[in-house]
């Protein structure tokens, strides 16, 4: 299973990548929104994790791009922080499937990913 993760904090990104690789997932890390939007049609991941605040293109743009991919139903989990409820709501309106609020537990994140993948 391939996961695309868009997160601009290098240490958080590497931590999540290591955790997901340890769980047996194939992970495509992206450090900004533009990189994620470029990688999306090339990698065609099974699930996308994205932070809301990213350089060059926001998490909302990524959610929108994922949901516009024809013939694909790729689930999207968004990372948010406290106080970003409006943005999370907007992400859900665009088609986001779940969200994780920072600070988050890596175990909880893994469970949510597996739950989304089970639906496919």
């Amino acid at each position: 299973m391939k996961i695309l993760i868009a997160e601009d904090d290098p240490l958080i990104q590497k931590t999540v990548v290591h955790k997901l690789q340890k769980e047996g997932f194939d992970v495509v890390p992206c450090s900004d929104g533009k990189e994620a939007l470029e990688a999306l049609p090339l990698e065609l991941p099974d699930i996308v994790l994205t932070d809301m605040m990213l350089p060059y293109a926001s998490g909302l743009e990524i959610v929108s791009a994922v949901k516009k991919l024809e013939g694909k139903n790729i689930p999207v989990i968004v990372f948010s922080t406290m106080g970003q409820e409006d943005i999370v709501e907007e992400a859900f309106n665009l088609g986001a499937d779940d969200y994780v609020t920072k600070p988050f537990s890596l175990t909880e994140l893994t469970i949510r990913i597996k739950k989304q993948l089970r639906r496919l």
Partner: protein, 163 residues
């Protein structure tokens, strides 16, 4: 009028080919020296930047691998990182990295960050800040110790509160 004539004559006496050639040569040497100095300075900065990038990446890799361990016990650092963490500035960089990551994670990962902080003796740096006479450094020390859950220093911190 006489004074002006005197200075004009003095000035004109220097505008002779032999003086001008000497001045041009001196100017050329100074310009070359400045260019070489700038080039060397930029090379040193560039080398330092890439070395820092490499070490930062190593530190990120090492911390992120340690954080996800289910049963994290000891920090095994590479010699490169040990040398890197000898400098106070780099230790502060490591503290900032750990603090930022702890703000974003919960559970075992957050506990492991605390263990890494303690095993690298970074709490000594925070305690030094706590004992600083400068208020904003003291506040930074308190924040670091609070974020890293250093309960044994609670009494010392409580002295600065109005409780």
């Amino acid at each position: 009028m006489l004074v002006a004539d005197y200075y004009r004559d003095e000035f004109l006496s220097f505008i002779k080919p032999r003086y001008l050639y000497g001045a041009a040569l001196a100017f050329l040497v100074i310009t070359l020296f400045i260019i070489i100095a700038i080039f060397v300075f930029l090379q040193i900065k560039r080398r330092r930047f890439f070395r820092k990038e490499k070490i930062d990446s190593l530190l990120d890799d090492w911390i992120s691998s340690a954080i996800i361990e289910d049963d994290f016990q000891h920090a095994h650092l590479s010699p490169d990182l040990l040398v890197y963490l000898e400098k106070a500035r780099n230790r502060q960089f490591a503290i900032d990295l750990l603090l930022n990551t702890r703000k974003n994670l919960l559970g075992t990962a957050a506990d492991n960050i605390k263990k890494i902080y303690e095993q690298l003796d970074l709490q000594l740096d925070s305690m030094e800040k706590l004992r600083s006479p400068v208020w904003h450094i003291k506040a930074k020390g308190i924040f670091e110790l609070y974020m890293m859950d250093q309960r044994e220093l609670m009494d010392e911190i409580a002295a600065y509160t109005n409780v």
